[in-house]
Point group: C3
Chain length 666, copies 3
C-alpha cells in the first residue's frame, strides 16, 4: 500500500529538458502522479481545428519513464483567444447584458451551443489521442466548476435552456404559476418567454430562485457529462472525476463519476473542525470510494510553521489515497506565479522539497506491510441535502451563512465528542449509522420521512432542528404545522415560530451558565436536564413554539414569548429515538450537550478526547492528530504499536505540538 | 372612539374559503381594516386589456360581511411580466444604459409614457369598478415611492422630461448657465439637449445636483397625482394617501392628499428618540390630520421581547388613529415569506394573534367613553425644509448623514427635555409654537426670513445653527456674509467659517467637562454660562467666525482659530429671542443645555423627565411610555385617573420595564 | 530671494470688478502668481471653433497690473458639453462597453483621435493668443493626469493603440507569446487583434498586466507631449510642467518638462515622515530643478490648529520655491465649493487671509538678503523604479500596498535617523550619495546591476531587500536564483523563499524585544548583532532562504523553516558595502537599526534627532520643523543666528509645539 502522491504540472510551459529534470526530481521525492492538460486548450488546439498533442504525448512518455502516472484533464475552463474572438457569443453575459472577456479563465458560458460544439470536438480528439495511453490513470473533467467571478450567465441561450428545463418540469405555464405562487408582487406569467433566470439572491424565497439554482446545477452537471461521455466512448474503462465542485449540488455533480476530488488549502490557522469537515465532505459523496485530494499546498503554514506532514496524514487517515500538491513549480507568468510550490520559485529543490521527499519515503515505508487500507468507519452521519437547504438558504441571502453555520455546528459537536460523522445525502443508506443528524431540512419529502421512520423504528437515533419540514418542494411556506410528514416520528408539532436574529448569524458563546441573568436580556435561553446534567444555553435565529403529543421535553425555553414551552423534544419511536431542537441555531456548548445526549440514546459510549485532536481509523491503523500548538497528554484505551512517533505510552497518548501519531492496533 | 386596526392582506394568493376564515379571525381579534390590491396588477389585468376584478370584489364583500373596511391600493410599483416583455422601454435604465428587469418590484420608470398610459388605464378601471363600493374607506397610491434598488432612471424619456422641467424653470440656456454658475469645470451648456440628469452624489454642490433632486421629487409627485386624479374623477369624495415617501420632498408628495402614512419597523433596540422622531415626522406633514401607520410589524422585539403594545399606544398617543400591521399572514413565496405576521407561518392563530387580539379589545374598552381624541398639542417645532437641506446635503455625499444627525440631535434634545416638537415645513404656520428650532437651513428665502422676524417680534424664540443662509436658491455659495436676510434678526453676521470634520459625522460624547484638557487637543470646544450654569462642549463639522452687532454671546469658542469669538449668540428682537449656534454639529450634552436655555427664553418650564420616557397628550388622555428595559419611578404634577395600569400613585409615576400608562387627566 | 506664492484662480467665474478686487487683495498679501485657465475649455471655446480669449487676456492684464504673474493651464481634463454631445466616442469606455458621461471632469479618452484633434487645436490657439504675453511665467499641461474615477478607457481606439504599442515592442505575436509565457491558462494569441488591454488588477502577474500599465503611462505621457509641443512651437522658451502625476511613471511623465509639481493636502494628522516623503518625491524627479507646489490648502489643520506656516517653511526648506494655495476663493458651485480658501466663503479677507498675509511678509523680509538658495543637499538616496515596482505590485493587487509600505518604511528609517534621502529613479546619478537604499527592485537590469557594482566598488553603500532581481523584464519568474546580476555584489544567492503575509501588509510593531516568546508564535523573527548592539525584530510578507558566498550574516532568522539562515547579509565589495535584507517587509524598529548600521558603514555620523523633527538645509539656511504637538528641547552642534524665532540657544534647540525655526549658519 502506498499513498499516491501527485502534483500539478504544466508541460505546455516548459522545454523537454526541463520536463525530464522535473520528472527525475519527482521520482526522487517519491511522487507518482501528475495532473496534465488542465488549462492547455490554446496549446492543444493552436487555432480552429489545428490540433497538436505531440508535446502532451511527450510529457506523458517522459513521466512514464520515471514511473509517474498521468491524470489527464480537459481544459474546458480556459477557452482560447481565437475562439472568443471568432464567437463572442460564447463569453458569459452578465445580468444586464455585459459580456465577460478573454484574459483569465472561466469566461465562457456552460450552455453555449458553439462552445459545447468546440469543446466536445476537443475532448473527442483528446480521447482519441490518448485512448491507448496506459500511463493515464484517471481523467479530470474541467476544474472547479462554477467557481468563477463570472459565475452566472444570462445569455439568451441560457434563458432558453432554462425555459426548456422549466417546461419539462412544469409542463404548463399555469402549473408553474401555481407551483411558484406567482401572485406575489405581480409575478404571474402568461407565456414561457416571459420567464427569466434569476441572479443569486435576487428574488429571495421564490420558486424561481430555487429553479434557477437547480437549473444552474443541472446545467453544470450536463457540461461535465458531455465531456465524460466523449471520453467513455473511446475509453470505456476510464476513471473519471472532477474537483472542488462549488455552488452546485455535489451529489448531482459527481453522480456517475468514479471519484470525487477536493481542493483544500489549509493554513496553520484553519480550525481542526473545519479541516475535518472539508475532508469528510468529499469522502461522503461517493460512499465507499476513496476521495482524492487534487489540490493542496506544499507547506501549509510555512515558512513560520510547516504543516505538510500533519495534513498529509490527516487526509490519509480520513480515507484519501491520492494526494496532489498544488503545484510543482510556478508558471513563470500569471495569477498563480507566487503560489507555494514543491520546488522553489527558481525551479530548484529547496527546504519544502526536502521535507516532502522525506515525508513520502517515511510514509511508503510505514505502509509497506499493508495491501490496502479499508475506508474509514463512522457510527454517526450528517445529512447534507442541497435541494432542501437551498429552499432555506435562498429565502434570504444571509441564510446561506446561517445554514452553513448550523451544518458546521452539528459537525463540530460530533467531532468534539469523538464521533466525526460520515456526511451523506438524504438518498444514501443510513443503516450503518447509530445516530443521524440532520441540520435544518427545509422541505421533507414523504419518502425521506418514511425512511427516517423506518430507521428509528429499527433502533436508530435522529437529531433534527429548526425550520425543518416547513416548506414544500417549490420553496413555498406550508400551511400545515411542521415538521411535515414527521410529526408522528417526533411526537410533536411546531404550531408557532418566529425569526430572531439577535446577534448576527454566528453565536459563539463562552461555556454556558456564566451570568445567566445578563445573557437572558439579549438572548433566548433554554435550560433543562439531560442525563442528570443541568444544561443551559442560547437559541437563536428562529425559534419554534411546539406542542407535544407523545414526546417529552427535557429542555424548555426559559424566557421569550415561548417561555416554558419545549425546546428539546425526545420521542421514543419503535426501538429508537427522534430528537428535535426548536431553533435554527443553538450555541456551541449547548449543542455539544445535546449531541452527547443523543449519543447516549444511541448507546455510543462517551469518549474523552481533548480539544482539537482528531482520531480516525482505517482497519488496523489509528491516526491521531494534534492540532494544538502545544504538547498534550491524555489517557486512552487503545492498545497497539507505535508506527510513527512514540506517542502511545502506558495507556496514554503524549503528542507534541502539531504531531501526528500512527498506531497499529492490536 | 376606536383606534382602527388594520392589516395588509393579499386575496390574490388565497382561495375564497381561506379569505372567509381570515376575515372571521380578524373580526374576532378586533381588526377593522384591510389593505388590498397593493401589488396585484398581474391579477387585475391578466394580459393586455383583459381585466378581472371579480376576485377583488369578492374579497371586499367578504370583509364587509365581517365589518372590515378596505383600503384599496393601486399596484403601480409592480408592473406585470407581459407588460415588461411587450414594452421593454418601460423598465428603468441605469446610468450607463443598463436596463432593470422583471422579477421583483419597482422595476419600471416613473416617466415612461407607455407605462403611464397603461397605469392610468388600470387605475381608471379600478375606480370605475369600485366607485360604488361603500366598504372602501380609503385609497393608497403606489407603495413606498422611490424606495427601490433601481431608484434612479436615466432613460431618454426621463432626460427629456428633465429638460422640459428645466426649460420651464430657467426659460433660456443662458439663464440656466448663470443660475448654476456652470463655468466650473467647463460645465457651460450651449443647448438643452446637452443637459442630463445627474445620479445621486455625482456632481456635488452643483445646481444640476439640486435640480435633479427637485425633478425626481416633482416627477414622483406627478406619478402619484395622475393616479389620484383618475380616482377622484369617479370618486370625488375618495380619501387618498400614500405611504413612506422616501427620498423625495414629503411635503410636496403629500400635498393635496388626504392623509400621510408612515411605515415603521421598530425593534426592541430602536432608541426612544428615534422612534418618536419617525412618528412625529408624519404627523407634521398634513397638520391637523391624523397620520396613518400603514405598516408596522406585529411583535416588534419578539420572540424575546414583544413590544406590540408599547408601540401601539405610542402611535395612538402621538396622533395615529389608524394602525395597520404588516402583515396578516405570509405570502407562500417570495421576498416577504419570512416576515413577521399576525398569524403563524402556517396561517393559524398563535401567540402573537392572541396578544394582539386582547390588546385591541382592551384598547376598544379603554376608549369607549371618548367620541374622538383631539390631535397632539406641542409647544415647540422643528423645521424640515427639503429644498434647503438638499442644498446642504448635496454639497457633499456625507453631508446627508450630517444633516440628518443635526436634525435628529435637535429633536432629541427637545425630546429629552420633554418638549417633543411638531415637525413642520418652512411653509407651515409657526404661531402655535413658543420655540421654533431650525437645523441648518442652507438657503433662506426672503419670505421665510420675514416670517421668522414676525414670529420672533411677536414673542417667539428661534434657534438656528451652522451654515444657514449661506447659499442661494440654486445651491451656489453666496458672496455676502450669512445668514442671509437674517443678520438683523440674529443681531450678528457670520463673516468667516471653516469646515472641520474632526471625528466623522457622529459626535456622541460623554457628559461634558471630563478631562477638558484632553478634549481640546482633538476637538473645537465652546464654553460659557447659560442661566447661571457653566456649560462646556464640542462643536464639529463646520464652525463660524461671527461678529456681533446687537446680539450677546453667552458661550464662546475656547480654542481654534476662532478662540474667544462667539459660539452661541442671543438676540432680543421685539418680544422674542433669536438664538444662533455657530457650528453645524454640537455634541449632545451641550445641545441639551442650549435647548433648555431656549425653552427658558420661551417661558417653557423645565420638566424633569427620566431618560427614555415619552409623554404625549391628546385631550384628556395622557400617554406615558417607558422605553427603559427596567422599572422607573419619577414625581409628577399630573393628576388624574389610571385608565391603563396603575402607574400614577401619590404624585409619582411608577412604570415597569417597557410599560405604557394611560391617564385620564382631571 | 523670494518664495513665489501663488493661488488658483478662475476668472471665468467672476466679473471684472471682482477680479480687480481679488488682484488687489492678493498683492496686499504678497501673492505673486496665479494659475489660470485650468478647466475653462467651455469658456475659451464657446462652441465648435468659436474661440473667446478676451476674458483671459483681461485677467492676465489685471493681474499684471498688480505685479502678479500667470501660470497658464491647458484645460484638457474638462472637455465641454458640446464636444461630448457631438462626438460621444470621445467619452471613456468602461471594461464592458459602458461610456462615461459629461458632468464632472476627466470623462474623456486620452487616446481618442477626435479628442486629440480638438485639444491640439485649442492648445495651438492658446499658444498663439498668449505667445507674446510676458506676464506668463509658466504653462501647466492638464491637471492631475490619470487621477480620475474613469481612469481606464477600453474603447477600440485604446485597444488599437495598445496593439500598435505591442507590435512595436514585440514585433511578432510569437515573440509576444514567448515573452509573456502565455501558455498559462490558455493565454496564447494567434493574432494581434485578439490582444486586449487589461483593467487594473485583472490578470495579476501576467506580461499583459505590465504592458497595460506601461501603455497607460506612455499614452498619458503622449497626451501631455502633444500639448507641450504645440506650446513650444510658438513659445520656444516656455516653462512647462504638470502637477500630481498619479498612477503613471512620474519619471517618464515629467521627462522633457521644465518643472515637476506636486499637489499635497496635509492635515494636522499627517505624519511627519509621510509629509516629507511626499515633498521629497517631487524634488527628485528633475534633480537640480526646484519642484513646485501647485496645490496645497490654506489652513491645513484649521480651524482647530492652523499649520499653514509650518508647511510653508517645510516646502521651502525642502527646495520648493513656488508654493500655490488651493484656492483663493470657492467657485460658487460644484464639487469644490466647500474647499478651504484664502478668502472666506463669502469672498472676504478673514482669519486665514490675515495669517497668510503676515506669513508671506515675514518670509519676504527674512529672505531679503539672499540672492537665491541652492537646492537641498542629501547624502543618502532612495530608488523608485516604476517598471521594477510594477512587476512586483501587479503580481497581486495587495502588493501595491506592500510596495508602498516598504518604500515608505525605508524612507522613514532614513528620516528618523536624520538622513532624509533624495528620491531618485534607477537612471539618475548615484555618485553624490554615500548610501543608496533600494526597496524591492523586482527586475534588475544588467546595466543597473553594473551601475551598482561600480558605485559600491568606489565606496558606496547599497541596501536592498526582498524579492529583488527575481523577475525578468516582462514580469516573469526567473529560473535562476536571485538577485539576478547582483549575486557577486551581495556575496550571496537567494536559493529559496516563501510568501508569508502574517498579519496583513502593515506591521507596525512596538519597540523590539518585548515578550519575544509570544512574538515568535505569530511572526517570523530575526535577531543578531549590529555594531555591538543586539537587534531583534519581525520579518514579514516574503522571506528568503539565502546561501552566503563572500558575505557575512550579522542577523539571522530565529524561527521558521529558515531558522539559523541569514537574514541580513553584508558584503565588502571594493571600497564599499552591499547589504541585503532577506524579507519584503521588516518591522519599523528593526529597519531603523539596519539603516543606522548602513549609515555607519557609509561613515555617516549618528545624529540624535528627536522623533518627528525635520531638519533640512539650503546653503546657509537651516530649517528645523517640530511636528510634535508639544514643546521640545535637544542639543545641537549647529552654530548660527536665529533668523526666525529664538530656537537656537546655547547649543540647544528649543522649539514650541508645531514651531519652525530658521537659522543662518555660521
Amino acid at each position: 500500500m502506498k499513498i499516491q502522491v501527485g502534483t500539478a504540472y504544466y508541460p505546455e510551459a516548459w522545454q523537454k529538458e526541463r520536463i525530464i529534470l522535473d520528472a527525475a526530481l519527482m521520482k526522487k521525492a517519491g511522487i507518482t502522479c501528475v495532473r496534465l492538460g488542465e488549462f492547455a486548450w490554446s496549446h492543444m488546439e493552436k487555432t480552429d481545428g489545428i490540433f497538436d498533442f505531440q508535446w502532451l504525448h511527450d510529457a506523458v512518455k517522459i513521466f512514464a519513464e520515471y514511473n509517474i502516472k498521468t491524470v489527464m484533464c480537459t481544459p474546458s475552463s480556459a477557452a482560447p483567444a481565437w475562439l472568443c474572438k471568432k464567437y463572442p457569443e460564447v463569453l458569459r453575459t452578465g445580468r444586464t447584458g455585459e459580456k465577460a472577456w478573454f484574459g483569465v479563465r472561466d469566461h465562457t458560458c456552460y450552455t453555449s451551443a458553439i462552445y459545447r460544439k468546440y469543446l466536445v470536438r476537443l475532448v473527442r480528439k483528446m480521447a482519441e489521442e490518448f485512448q491507448n495511453e496506459e500511463n493515464i490513470i484517471a481523467w479530470q473533467i474541467d476544474n472547479e466548476l462554477g467557481c468563477s467571478r463570472f459565475s452566472e450567465c444570462f445569455c439568451e441561450e441560457c434563458q432558453n435552456s432554462f425555459r426548456r428545463f422549466l417546461r419539462k418540469k412544469f409542463r404548463s405555464i399555469e402549473n408553474l404559476n401555481k407551483c411558484w405562487a406567482t401572485t406575489f408582487w405581480s409575478g404571474e406569467y402568461t407565456s414561457w418567454d416571459e420567464v427569466e433566470l434569476e441572479g443569486y439572491g435576487e428574488n429571495m424565497g421564490a420558486g424561481r430562485t430555487l429553479a434557477s439554482a437547480e437549473f444552474r446545477s443541472a446545467n453544470g452537471k450536463d457540461f461535465l457529462s458531455i465531456q465524460a461521455k466523449e471520453i467513455r466512448k473511446r475509453i470505456p474503462h476510464a476513471v473519471i472525476g472532477t474537483n472542488n465542485l462549488t455552488r452546485y449540488d455535489r451529489y448531482e455533480g459527481f453522480a456517475g463519476m468514479d471519484f470525487a476530488a477536493e481542493d483544500f488549502y489549509p493554513t496553520a490557522k484553519t480550525p481542526a473542525a473545519e479541516a475535518v469537515f472539508r475532508i469528510d465532505l468529499y469522502r461522503g459523496i461517493l460512499p465507499g470510494k476513496s476521495p482524492w485530494m487534487l489540490e493542496t499546498p506544499p507547506g501549509p503554514g510555512a515558512p513560520l510553521q510547516d504543516l505538510t506532514k500533519l495534513f498529509f496524514w490527516l487526509f490519509a487517515g480520513h480515507g484519501y489515497d491520492h494526494i496532489f500538491y498544488f503545484l510543482w513549480v510556478n508558471h513563470p507568468a500569471g495569477n498563480e506565479k507566487t503560489h507555494k510550490t514543491v520546488l522553489t520559485q527558481y525551479g530548484q529543490p529547496g527546504v519544502l522539497y526536502e521535507r516532502i521527499s522525506s515525508m513520502i519515503h517515511e510514509a511508503d515505508k510505514l505502509l509497506e506491510g499493508y495491501d490496502t487500507l479499508p475506508q474509514v468507519e463512522s457510527s454517526t452521519a450528517l445529512v447534507y441535502d442541497y435541494h432542501a437547504s437551498w429552499i432555506y438558504t435562498m429565502s434570504f441571502k444571509g441564510e446561506e451563512v446561517a445554514y452553513t453555520w448550523q451544518q458546521r455546528n452539528l459537525h463540530e459537536a460530533l467531532f468534539r465528542t469523538g464521533y466525526t460523522p460520515q456526511i451523506l445525502s438524504s438518498k444514501h443508506d443510513f443503516s450503518p449509522y447509530k445516530l443521524v443528524t440532520i441540520p435544518l431540512h427545509a422541505h421533507v419529502e414523504k419518502s425521506f420521512a418514511e425512511k427516517l421512520e423506518k430507521y428509528v423504528k429499527e433502533g436508530g437515533v435522529v437529531l433534527m432542528n429548526g425550520r425543518s419540514g416547513m416548506y414544500d418542494g417549490y420553496s413555498k411556506n406550508l400551511t400545515e404545522s411542521g415538521p411535515q410528514h414527521l410529526k408522528k416520528l417526533f411526537g410533536m408539532e411546531m404550531h408557532d415560530g418566529l425569526e430572531y436574529a439577535s446577534q448576527g448569524y454566528m453565536p459563539d458563546y463562552p461555556p454556558a451558565c456564566q451570568h445567566p441573568g445578563e445573557k437572558e436580556k439579549h438572548h433566548i435561553v433554554a435550560e433543562g436536564n439531560l442525563n442528570g446534567k443541568k444544561v443551559y444555553g442560547c437559541a437563536d435565529h428562529w425559534v419554534a413554539g411546539i406542542k407535544l403529543t407523545t414526546a417529552e421535553a427535557p429542555v424548555k425555553f426559559r424566557n421569550s414569548i415561548y417561555r416554558g414551552m419545549p425546546f428539546l423534544t425526545v420521542n421514543r419511536f419503535g426501538k429508537g429515538y427522534a430528537v428535535y431542537c426548536a431553533a435554527d441555531m443553538v450555541d456551541k456548548e449547548l449543542m455539544r450537550e445535546i449531541v452527547l445526549y443523543c449519543e447516549s440514546l444511541a448507546h455510543l459510549p462517551e469518549k474523552n478526547i481533548p480539544e482539537n485532536v482528531d482520531i480516525s481509523r482505517r482497519g488496523k491503523l489509528l491516526f491521531v492528530t494534534n492540532f494544538n500548538n502545544k504538547d498534550i497528554t491524555f489517557p486512552t484505551e487503545y492498545k497497539g504499536k507505535n508506527k510513527m512517533g512514540k506517542a502511545l505510552q502506558k495507556g496514554c497518548f503524549k503528542l507534541k505540538a502539531w504531531e501526528t501519531a500512527i498506531i497499529e492496533l492490536i
